[in-house]
């Protein structure tokens, strides 16, 4: 009996101590991590739509949509975070689309856990640049051959699942945005 009590006591104490320690580290780093995330989103928007001067945040059913304005205060497009299942986990993609919702300005992967060296190549320029000024209506299509249509992109060799995931996430995200803005 004494043995059991000691065991429980040691385990509980260890876990409490570790939890306390982690909570402490987390509370210090939390602000910094959030700032990093925010800076990352703003940098990505500026990179994809360089004429952006002002960003207005609107919240739509708990989801953030950024309205982008140029120096003449004209609406030039929207940015939003689309997410969905990748090969291994959730992929979060910052998507920038023009104001007519027909041409994609580009995207940047904010968060992903794809296989380094394979699926993770969805973050590389050779893949991402294909999406600049890509037609998204009716939707984006991926191919393993040479690109023929205006709404086609070429999937990464050896990482078709991740490439397909990006295309699907973008298509779904754009569809949701269209429905919301039409309401």
């Amino acid at each position: 009996m004494k043995e059991i009590l000691k065991t429980i006591a040691v385990l509980t104490f260890t876990c409490l101590l570790c939890a306390f320690f982690l909570a402490f580290v987390h509370s210090i780093a939390k602000e910094k991590i959030e700032l990093n995330e925010k800076a990352k989103i703003e940098n990505a928007i500026m990179k994809l739509a360089p004429s952006t001067r002002e960003i207005e945040q609107i919240e739509h059913e708990g989801q953030l949509v950024y309205k982008l304005f140029d120096s003449q205060e004209a609406l030039i497009g929207y940015a939003f975070i689309a997410q969905g299942q990748g090969y291994q986990g959730t992929i979060k993609i910052l998507t920038v689309i023009d104001s007519s919702l027909k041409i994609l300005e580009g995207f940047e992967i904010i968060d992903s856990v794809e296989t380094p060296g394979l699926g993770a190549r969805i973050t590389e320029d050779t893949f991402c640049n294909q999406f600049k000024r890509l037609a998204v209506s009716p939707k984006i299509v991926y191919t393993k051959e040479k690109v023929k249509e205006k709404n086609e992109i070429q999937a990464i060799t050896g990482a078709t699942v991740s490439s397909k995931a990006v295309v699907n996430i973008l298509n779904t995200g754009i569809e949701i945005l269209r429905n919301r803005l039409n309401q």
Partner: protein, 195 residues
């Protein structure tokens, strides 16, 4: 002291001799750079977990020692994870899920159980450092070879030129097994013929 450090580098090398930590070894070594980051993270976790275990070994009841070690390891891994996210978001992004997965790296639990729980704090420090550095050079070699053949680059610098058609299999899981097999064979050969 020096012996405890050096054995991790060669005679008891965690990857090529003990064949421990195969999961991260095979998974992250698609490039030399990933190998180095992974190695550094493991050194940190290994050293601190081993030290804590060596310090508190007398108070841990035998039946729950593994659970206690795991909680300690998980704590240090989470600290590394949070630290990277706050200070080096790019590195954190590159390593993705493999930082939290250090928790289940059996080299760390293995050293806690086989060494730290039986030896003094200072000896443990040398052992953990040796094993960590040994693991890092192993990952670096494996990552370099795979990156060289699989992408034609070393540490991200193109060395084989655009005429080279990369052997994609080398950065696929199969390539990891192939290279690891050859490296273990070489290590065994060196041992057998006493070179």
């Amino acid at each position: 002291m020096m012996k405890d450090f050096l054995k991790g580098l060669w005679s008891q090398h965690p990857i090529f001799r003990q064949l421990l930590g195969m999961c991260p070894t095979l998974a992250v070594t698609t490039s030399a750079e990933n190998g180095i980051y992974m190695g550094l993270a493991v050194i940190f976790v290994l050293v601190f977990s081993s030290l804590v275990v060596a310090l508190i070994k007398k108070f841990i009841p035998h039946q729950v020692r593994i659970a206690v070690y795991t909680v300690i390891i998980a704590t240090f891994v989470t600290i590394v994870h949070i630290f990277l996210k706050a200070q080096y978001p790019d590195v954190s992004m590159a390593l993705g899920p493999y930082v939290p997965l250090i928790i289940v790296n059996c080299i760390i639990l293995g050293r806690c159980e086989a060494f730290a729980s039986k030896h003094s704090v200072s000896t443990t420090l040398y052992d953990a450092l040796g094993m960590g550095v040994g693991f890092t050079w192993g990952l670096f070699i494996l990552g370099s070879i795979r990156e060289f053949f699989g992408s034609g680059t070393v540490l991200g610098v193109a060395v084989l030129g655009s005429a080279y058609n990369p052997l994609v299999v080398m950065i696929l899981p199969a390539g990891a097994f192939l290279v690891l097999g050859f490296l273990v064979a070489i290590m065994n050969g060196l041992e057998r013929w006493k070179i």
